[in-house]
Structure formats: C-alpha cells, structure tokens
Symmetry: C2
Subunit: 157 residues, 2 copies
DNA sequence: GTGTCATCGTACGTACACGAACGATATGGG
DNA sequence: CCCATATCGTTCGTGTACGTACGATGACAC
C-alpha cells in the first residue's frame, strides 16, 4: 500500500496547480455520468408505463414513430447505438411484435424497419409518460439549472 | 402511422404549457446522459493507459488503494454498483491477479478484498492518467462550466 | 437459546455496449 | 467490365447493470 505521504506527492504532481483539489473518483466526470445514468434508467423503468421497455428500446420506437421507416444502421446512428448493439435491440423488438422489417427494394444490403400496429399503440402510450420521466429525473434542480444541465451535457457529446 | 396533425395535438397535450418545446428524445435528460456516458467511456478507454481496464474496474481499484481492505458489498456501495455487478467485476480482477481476497475473520459472511502487488503497481500508473482523462472529457467546456456540470450532476444522483 | 429478520456473497436470466471479423452488396475509377 | 473500397447486417466475445432467488451467517428480541 502507498503511504499517505506518497499519495500527497502524487496529488501534487497530477492535480492542476491552480485548483489543486485531490483527485477523487467521486468528483470525476465519468463517474458522475455513470451514476446519473443509473439513476435516470431506474426512474425510466418505474415511470415509463411498461416495465419491459428499456430506454434504448424506447428511443428506437420513438424514432420509428417519427420517421415511419428506417434502415437498421440509420436508426442506430439516430439514437446513438452502434450496429452490434442495434442488432440486439431490433431483434428483441421484432420478437415482441413491436417492429416489422422488410428488405429495402432499392438496396439489398439494407433492412427497412417500421412499427407494427401494436408497436404504434405502445409508443403512443409511452410517449405520454416520457415528459414525466424527464421531469422526475431533473426534479432536484430548478428550471434554470435543468436547462443548463441539458445544455452542458449536449455540448460534451 | 400517426399523422402530423395528430402528433401536434399530442405535443400540445404533453408538453408543459409554459416552455412548450416539442418532446424530442434528443433533448431528454436520460438520452443525453446515455450519450455523454458513452463518450466518457470511450475517452477513458483510450486515455487511461491500459486498454483492458474499464471505468468500473478502475474505480474499484482506486477505492481499494484508498481503503486498503474492503468487503465486496461495501466496495460496491462506495463505487455505486449493486452486489451482482460487483461480483463480476471482482471476479475478473481476481482472475487477472490484481485483487486478492480472504475471509473476514470477524464475519464469516464477508470476503475482504485488497490489491495485490501487481494491482497496486497498476493503480499507481493509472491514477497518473486519470486527471488527463477527465480533462479531455470536459474539454468542450470552460472552467466555470466544467465546475457547474459536475455540481449539477452530483445533485441529480 | 431460539426464532425472526437482515446481510453477505453467489448464481441465473435479460439487456445494453462495443470491438473485431465476416459475407453480401453497392459504388466509383480505370 | 472489373477491381478496390465502402456499407450493411450478423455473429462472437467481453464487460457492465440489475432483478430475483438462494444458502450461509449474523444480530436482536424474547
């Protein structure tokens, strides 16, 4: 184990000479993002109105509601998932009868995805709960702080 | 598919009457947290100095460096992972010879975890890179905005 | 001391997340 | 026309993340 003296030396070497707070995991941006994301997911799960729908499934369904028909890769780009992840999400949505697919007539590499009637019905319902989920997640902050957080987050993406 | 007219009606029903921006997935806190966390993880992976160490493994090792010896459950609470997740993280760290365990002499339910010599050597190295990873993640923001983001995030956890 | 309840670690199932490799298809240059 | 290159979707492997259930152990009331 490293002694406290050695730790202090390490800190003075690595911390910025200005602010010079010790390096603590709990204050790091990556750690805070992970924890905040965990909490947001938990609130989503209890508040979206269907315990079997995950955040990524929800955003995929919402995008298909917005665009009617999309290739799997393009959908993935729109919701920020790589194609391997997208593959699993789409497979589960198809297995549950929420999403349908057909070959793209103009490009044999592509699969076009769309909502089924049941998928459409479900999205309509979930979208009603979406705002409340976001509101609950941001509850600890006042209106101005909420706006600021959204702005800052979008700028580090 | 729902018509645009129907969508407009839904929006006016669900959006707050004050700000009344349309509900867009890309503006929701949960979505932004997921994307920001993805980017932070990618920066971590390229910058921490060992491509086989993940953010959660890193924070576990750092906590063990700080506390010398911890039970698995307590470590999990300190780094924000439930016991099932912690179990997998610890198993992988033990398989790689970075962490050692022994039964708690005072409580037969507990397993005490500690860093091996190799684990200690690795943490010392990784901790040198930690600040640069955080700096790179926050690079798009100025100093005041960085502080504000960390504050806002910690308040919604 | 005994029974009740909580805690600890493990195991199983499901779902994101992504790198890497693969085959099929499309595109553009020569 | 043909070849190099790119894109698309799939598959495999690894690693979070968490709910649930389980058995072992501990703590506490009685």
């Amino acid at each position: 184990m490293r002694s406290n003296v050695a730790k202090k030396q390490l800190e003075s070497k690595t911390a910025s000479s200005a602010a010079s707070r010790p390096y603590r995991i709990e204050d790091q941006i990556g750690y805070l993002l992970r924890r905040a994301h965990q909490r947001a997911s938990a609130i989503f799960q209890t508040g979206i109105g269907d315990p079997n729908i995950t955040p990524t499934q929800y955003s995929s369904l919402a995008k298909l509601d917005e665009y009617t028909e999309l290739s799997q890769n393009l959908l993935g780009r729109l919701v920020g998932m790589d194609k391997a992840t997208m593959q699993g999400v789409v497979r589960r949505l198809k297995e549950r009868g929420l999403v349908d697919s057909r070959p793209d007539p103009g490009d044999a590499r592509r699969t076009l995805l769309s909502l089924t009637t049941e998928g459409q019905r479900l999205v309509n319902k979930l979208l009603l709960n979406g705002p409340a989920v976001s509101r609950e997640t941001l509850k600890p902050l006042n209106a101005q702080e909420q706006k600021q957080l959204l702005d800052l987050l979008s700028r580090i993406i």
